[in-house]
């Protein structure tokens, strides 16, 4: 992920690329999701429902403490739309 910050005084846009880090995150395939909502029930720490009844998934990392809950959410999605992805990001 690319972080852009403005450096005051210089008026310049500096783009820094933090070293990629091994991360586990949750993603939803929006073409599969029909807004069932079981993910928001099982993992409220990372999933909220929007005004139309579709999940908003945080791109924050899933720490070990949440890993079991996350796996349960993934396994419970009736549309199999939820995925845990891990890799250098």
């Amino acid at each position: 992920m690319m972080a852009t910050r403005r450096v005051s005084g210089l008026g310049a846009q500096v783009t820094s690329l933090p070293a990629p880090k091994w991360r586990v995150t949750l993603v939803v395939d929006p073409t599969m999701c029909d807004g069932h909502g079981v993910c928001a029930e099982l993992l409220p720490e990372r999933v909220k429902m929007d005004q139309w009844g579709f999940p908003i998934i945080s791109d924050e990392e899933i720490p070990t403490a949440l890993a079991d809950h996350a796996r349960r959410a993934v396994a419970s999605c009736p549309r199999l739309a939820l995925h845990l992805v891990e890799g250098l990001q």
């Binding site: 395939d29 929006p30 073409t31 599969m32 005004q51 139309w52 579709f54 908003i56």
Partner: protein
């Protein structure tokens, strides 16, 4: 190994300064057959390309002309890494954007530049399949060009032509791949996977815009340094533009990056009173005010600073006889209808956005003196579709709220302006249904 005929014909002709892709327009019949093409540009340097083209593309700094402006050399390297299976090269001429005419123009007038680029891609990436993906109405023209090349034994790999449905999303790259895999031309969720390594038939796939490929054909002959000899450091070379609203008919032109919009559009300071501003990039681009455009040059960096992008090269100059909010509302509704209906936030978000924009443009009394919560809504939509279609729409809408802020307030306070029922500039073809 046999030597293709084109390799025997004399090599390079003189390198053009400007124009480049459209140099041939000065020829009498205005359309380039294979003979004219080889006469003008010389042989297709396939063998040299295998050895040096990747480096030339990097040094050229060529970026894609389908909208995303991704570096071409970087993409070719990524595709060539999927070495386990032979790659597929797709020339993307779908041109779903209704305000853009440049790809169809290029394909009709100079098909061999595009086909050269596709063949070069196949040579460099060691591909054994080339598909030219163009709207149904152009498959015959391209078919004839391919036929002429086959008779001259020009290409190392057979070139196929496949028809694309005329819909906004047909040219989105995962939709292209899905269409070529015998599915509907609708985007898929690619996730962290990439069609560069797993695309058509599960093989590494290069999807490249047809103008990008035509530029590749020129770079293969004249080199990366030549390419950079016009343009700016950050936006080198030239690009094709579709200019609408400035003259009676839309025009396709080739422009050097870095040219002042003032010169490109032949504008003077007085024109600020005749026009509202311009739409830059396309329906996923953004509006720019006349004040800004009169000071702006044609570079991606300048466009980004103004909240837009050069995108697919649309430059639509909006006369004051049109209502900018009505133009925006019609395009948002069109884009909502063109959505594939697959992703909840895109379906509901674009529908709400279109309704808000229509209220603001045509029925502001219903808003009871308040601007609708459009920016908030944009924030809820962005980044949540399988493809970037909804994000393009929010960029377009956000720019309208910035550039036409005063007009929006006027609508809310005093009702729609007189131009609201005036002529429309931006085409929103009603006959286009949901893509198949």
């Amino acid at each position: 190994m046999r030597t293709p005929l084109a390799e025997i014909t004399p090599p390079t002709r003189e390198a053009p300064t400007f124009p480049r892709l459209l140099s041939g327009l000065s020829s009498p019949d205005n359309s380039f057959g294979l003979h004219d093409h080889l006469e003008q540009w010389g042989a297709l340097p396939l063998r040299r390309a295998r050895a040096t083209l990747l480096d030339e593309l990097d040094s050229a700094g060529l970026r894609g002309h389908g909208g995303a402006r991704f570096p071409v050399g970087t993409k070719w390297r990524a595709v060539s890494e999927g070495r386990a299976r032979r790659a597929v090269v797709v020339a993307n001429g779908a041109e779903g954007e209704p305000a853009s005419l440049k790809d169809a123009f290029l394909l009709t007038k100079f098909p061999h530049l595009v086909l050269d680029g596709a063949s070069l891609g196949a040579a460099v990436l060691n591909a054994n399949r080339i598909v030219v993906y163009v709207p149904d109405r152009l498959t015959d023209v391209i078919g004839r060009a391919i036929h002429a090349r086959r008779r001259a034994d020009l290409d190392p790999v057979e070139i196929e032509v496949v028809g694309a449905p005329e819909a906004f999303l047909s040219g989105q790259e995962s939709a292209v791949v899905r269409a070529l895999n015998n599915g509907p031309a609708l985007p898929t969720f690619v996730g962290i996977q990439s069609i560069r390594t797993r695309g058509v038939g599960g093989r590494p796939t290069l999807v490249q815009n047809v103008e990008s490929l035509a530029q590749v054909a020129m770079i293969s002959r004249f080199g990366g340094q030549w390419f950079r000899s016009v343009g700016t450091d950050d936006s080198p070379g030239t690009m094709l533009l579709t200019i609408t609203g400035r003259w009676t008919e839309p025009q396709v032109v080739e422009a050097p990056h870095g040219v002042a919009f003032r010169d490109l559009l032949q504008l003077t300071a007085q024109d600020a009173d005749r026009y509202w501003g311009i739409l830059l990039g396309g329906y996923g681009g953004g509006w720019v005010s006349m004040t800004d455009i009169l000071e702006c040059r044609l570079t991606e960096e300048a466009a980004r600073q103004l909240g837009s992008s050069l995108g697919a090269g649309v430059v639509a100059v909006l006369p004051r006889t049109c209502c900018p909010l009505a133009e925006t509302a019609r395009v948002v509704r069109y884009m909502e209808r063109q959505g594939a209906g697959q992703c909840g936030p895109c379906v509901h978000g674009l529908a709400d956005l279109a309704a808000h924009m229509e209220a603001l443009a045509f029925d502001p009394a219903a808003l009871r003196g308040h601007l609708p919560p459009i920016e908030e809504l944009c924030g809820l939509i962005e980044g949540r579709g399988a493809c970037r279609h909804p994000d393009g729409v929010t960029r377009f809408v956000r720019s309208a709220l910035v550039v036409f802020h005063n007009e929006a307030l006027q609508h809310v306070r005093r009702g729609p302006c007189g131009a609201v029922n005036g002529p429309a500039l931006l085409p929103c073809p009603a006959h286009q249904g949901r893509p198949r």
